[in-house]
Symmetry: C2
Subunit: 147 residues, 2 copies
């Protein structure tokens, strides 16, 4: 059976968020939180606009998802994000106990993976590489345009 | 010359914040941000009240400090916190480029140090152990009272 709402579909939604960030001159990272095949929260990087280093796409999306659910834990939720989370975001996602994280492009310099996936909650499943070319290209072209 | 505003003084102010958290049934962690010997921001753990896993003392204090300064970077600031920060808070403090972090009690299980201080910004100075007995005791008695 054809699955309409698959990881590619939701990563495209995260990419749409990332493009909103780019349009505002923010480093283009976007995220969505999905529960039961429905998007319950969206977020994009707003560190410049809010002058707040914590205003990453993941933090905004997970806080919005917790508000939506009325529960600080994101059990049975998947967070899709265009870029490998940084340690701050990975730590926030650990506290949220989110069921699954899917990220697009890797971030060898700022990503959490160099500290090991033990930053995440042990029950959180992790996948990456979904639409990684599109996610990487968005970052590359953003930084190229600012040189 | 007698220094009135030393690390002990400011850690006592962070402890006062932690006691506000305890009074609200929150895990008692408190933080203050100091610039030029003045407290520019205070925060205490509010994860339960706000139903938000990101509402740790350090995150609240650093966001408030950035608002106060009108700058997302906390150059020339010291953050005092009663407990060793978790990876989320350490990552947030890294992005803030805070000059110095002083924490009281260690947190072997949830603290960032087991991932290495590379989570912090390379320019951030780190000290710990200030009033560590008082900071530990507050945590111990809080959890004992809830058993």
């Amino acid at each position: 059976m054809l699955k309409v709402y698959d990881d590619t579909y939701f990563m495209n939604q995260a990419l749409a968020q990332a493009r909103l960030a780019a349009a505002e001159g923010e480093i283009p990272v976007g995220a969505v939180v999905v529960s039961n095949e429905r998007i319950i929260a969206r977020g994009y990087n707003q560190t410049e606009r809010l002058s707040d280093v914590t205003a990453h796409a993941e933090v905004i999306a997970l806080t919005a998802a917790a508000n939506h659910l009325g529960d600080k834990y994101l059990h049975d939720c998947t967070l899709y994000v265009t870029l490998e989370p940084c340690p701050m975001c990975a730590g926030a996602l650990a506290w949220s106990q989110v069921s699954r994280i899917v990220y697009g492009a890797s971030d060898d310099k700022r990503g959490f993976m160099r500290f090991g996936r033990e930053i995440l909650h042990p029950k959180t499943r992790l996948e990456f590489g979904v639409l990684h070319e599109e996610c990487s290209e968005l970052m590359t072209s953003f930084f190229a345009s600012r040189r």
